[in-house]
Symmetry: C2
Subunit: 153 residues, 2 copies
């Protein structure tokens, strides 16, 4: 991981479909050398995949909600059951086990408020072990996910 790898990661994190020859120019390498480094970053696990970014709004998902969830108990069994259910719920875009007041932080996108109400009733509140839920609505995304802050190490 030298400064060239950092540049490569940084560019690929913005646009992973640019031709390797273009990327090679940007970082000051030949195409083949750049290609070799990319393959090393892939096999080394620094790059975990390449994905299309979809525009939630363009697909009709106009609202985004962060949901803090508290469970009845923190027993291993309760957590496990809860997490298994989360994995199966396509309505949930992301889930973190948290330190602090709430046990979990979920992230949900919905088409509109009515759609969210439906998700809240039929999916979220039916997750096993839930004692309390608090929804926080995002009014506007100030800065969309900008990726890991790749800096020289």
């Amino acid at each position: 991981m030298d400064r060239i790898d950092v540049k490569i990661l940084s560019y690929l994190q913005e646009d992973c479909r640019m031709p390797i020859s273009t990327l090679a120019d940007k970082v000051g390498l030949s195409t083949s050398a750049c290609h070799r480094r990319i393959k090393l970053l892939e096999s080394g696990g620094q790059i975990s995949g390449y994905v299309a970014r979809l525009d939630a709004k363009a697909l009709g998902y106009s609202i985004e909600i962060f949901v803090e969830i508290t469970l009845h108990s923190q027993s291993e069994d309760t957590l496990e059951q809860f997490e298994r259910a989360v994995q199966k719920a396509p309505e949930i875009s992301e889930c973190h086990l948290m330190a602090g007041q709430a046990d979990y932080l979920l992230r949900v996108v919905a088409k509109n408020v009515a759609d969210y109400e439906q998700i809240h009733r039929n999916a979220l509140s039916r997750l096993p072990g839930v004692a309390h839920m608090q929804s926080s609505f995002s009014l506007r995304t100030v800065r969309p996910w900008a990726g890991v802050p790749v800096i020289q190490s």
Copy 2:
């Protein structure tokens, strides 16, 4: 947006470097027809880009923090100044303007607790207009960002 487009988006959201011919097989189209649809989804704004997913852990970022921020005032000027500063801070991976108690929700990744302390002191607390900050640590990512739940419309 028919069911084939939905399939295309769904596959590309998982892996955007698969050959179009492979994707075409999966969705039951010829390569050229599939290619045409992808271009339409790009120009139509449903696909906003293609990015490499980096593994934060593999790059030395072992912790992830959600930070709720309350400002001194909610005047347009205060918000604008704050947001401008957020855009310039590479330590901040994501930022939402929120409804509810806190004004903003930030997302930060850090190499370790000491690194986060430094970010907290030198970057976050120096953002203009901040009255109160509350950090919530993610202990474990139960379900990483799974993308927009693309469903037939």
